[in-house]
């Protein structure tokens, strides 16, 4: 078992079947989730049909934050123990998390226009999520902008760990400051403030996004591990010549 994570060459054998399984589960869950979201869930007493944007917006926001925490954690293990697979996992996850964050921002904007009356405002919640997106972008850019890839890895890993501070700011921004964005519905202490018929599509969509992430992560992890092997080979042949 230990060998599986320490030795990348060994790990690669397991990744291909894993990616197909995750992909199949993701497709099934997305189908069920979208059917619930668009056909089998009630309208909201205030927002009418526009509430259906929530089933895309909220899970992608959770994914954006969750994947960032995953990247920072893997980077931490990479930095501390010099672990090859940890760095590769972080690098594989970054563009996926950036995409989920972008989906969150765009769908939120499309939701804000009819409900609030504006596409964008600089309130604490919206701004901190935009900063999260910028952290993703800078992580990706810095991890690729050194000719020695292990140097870029270390630099961007530090950056991702520093960006971890942003996550509690996003979470508590709606409680601590006055914002246009409403406070959390699900993690509210006491009675849940979302009706169960709306909670079902939300939860299914969240799990389908998790499996989309896992599928893409496994596919991209193979790519990162192969890339790393090529990089090492190039460096070796460069040193020999």
């Amino acid at each position: 078992m230990k060998n599986l994570f320490v030795n990348p060459g060994f790990l690669v054998n397991y990744l291909k079947p894993l990616s197909s399984w995750f992909g199949a589960i993701a497709v099934a869950l997305v189908g069920i989730g979208l059917w619930f979201s668009f056909y089998n869930s009630p309208i909201d007493y205030q927002q009418g049909n526009a509430v259906r944007i929530m089933y895309i917006h909220v899970p992608s926001a959770w994914m954006g934050m969750g994947i960032y925490a995953f990247i920072a954690l893997s980077s931490f293990f990479g930095l501390v123990y010099g672990h090859v697979v940890a760095f590769s996992l972080a690098k594989a996850a970054a563009p996926i998390g950036a995409t989920f964050t972008a989906i969150c921002l765009v769908s939120g904007s499309a939701w804000g226009k009819p409900m609030w009356g504006t596409w964008w405002v600089w309130d604490a919640r919206l701004t901190s999520v935009l900063i999260l997106f910028f952290f993703y972008i800078s992580y990706i850019i810095f991890s690729k902008s050194f000719s020695d890839f292990s140097k870029g890895e270390k630099f961007s890993s530090f950056l991702s760990i520093i960006g971890l501070i942003n996550l509690p700011i996003i979470k508590f921004s709606v409680d601590y400051w006055n914002t246009l964005h409403q406070p959390a519905s699900i993690s509210k202490i006491g009675s849940p403030s979302i009706h169960v018929d709306m909670l079902i599509p939300l939860v299914i969509m969240f799990f389908s996004f998790i499996f989309i992430f896992l599928h893409l992560l496994v596919v991209r992890l193979q790519l990162e591990l192969n890339n790393r092997r090529l990089n090492l080979k190039n460096m070796k042949s460069y040193e020999e010549s």
Binding site: P42, I43, D44, Y45, Q46, Q47, V51, M54, F76, L79, V80, Y81, P114, M115, W116, G117, T118, V121, W122, D123, A124, F158, I161, I162, L164, I165, I169, W177, N178, T179, L180, Q182, P183, A184, S185, K188, S193, I194, H195, D197, M198
Partner: protein, 159 residues
């Protein structure tokens, strides 16, 4: 093993230092980070001369029940309250869909003093926000309309 221990200490130190400094910055800038002021805050700031009729402010609160009305020129008058203080708002433009009495809204504009002869304003104090834009907040409650009917039925039975 010793090396990785050193790294853990270094990373934790870095994280704690930057988190603390960021916390201090945000704490100091709290007045600028918040998106809107409540009517109480606006009144206090206006009379303390922290804001005047040239400073653009955002005022947030609930639209007072039965305060919304329009005049012939299409101007919209309503009152924003935080259940302690109230401020008149004058606005001409398109209101967002969710705007209604009792709803949370945010109006952006300039605060001005005005004389009480203007009979379109219901409130007896002399501060008014001349709003250039009005945004609607929505709350964190999501439910189908039928459920709201049931809930309201219960609460009226109780009262």
């Amino acid at each position: 093993m010793n090396k990785s221990k050193d790294r853990i200490i270094m990373i934790s130190f870095l994280l704690i230092v930057s988190a603390t400094s960021l916390f201090l910055i945000l704490f100091a800038l709290r007045d600028n980070v918040i998106f809107f002021y409540s009517p109480s805050e606006v009144q206090k700031k206006f009379y303390n001369n922290e804001i005047n009729n040239e400073s653009l402010v955002r005022l947030g609160g609930l639209v007072l029940d039965k305060s919304l009305h329009r005049d012939k020129e299409g101007n919209i008058y309503f009152i924003i309250t935080d259940l302690k203080k109230e401020i008149n708002v004058l606005f001409s433009g398109i209101l967002p869909d969710l705007f209604r009495e009792g709803q949370g809204v945010i109006a952006q504009g300039y605060v001005e003093k005005y004389n009480l002869k203007d009979d379109n304003d219901l409130l007896e104090n002399n501060l008014r926000l001349r709003a250039s834009s009005v945004l609607a907040k929505h709350d964190e409650n999501y439910m189908p309309p039928e459920v709201l009917d049931i809930l309201e039925g219960v609460s009226t039975n109780d009262g």
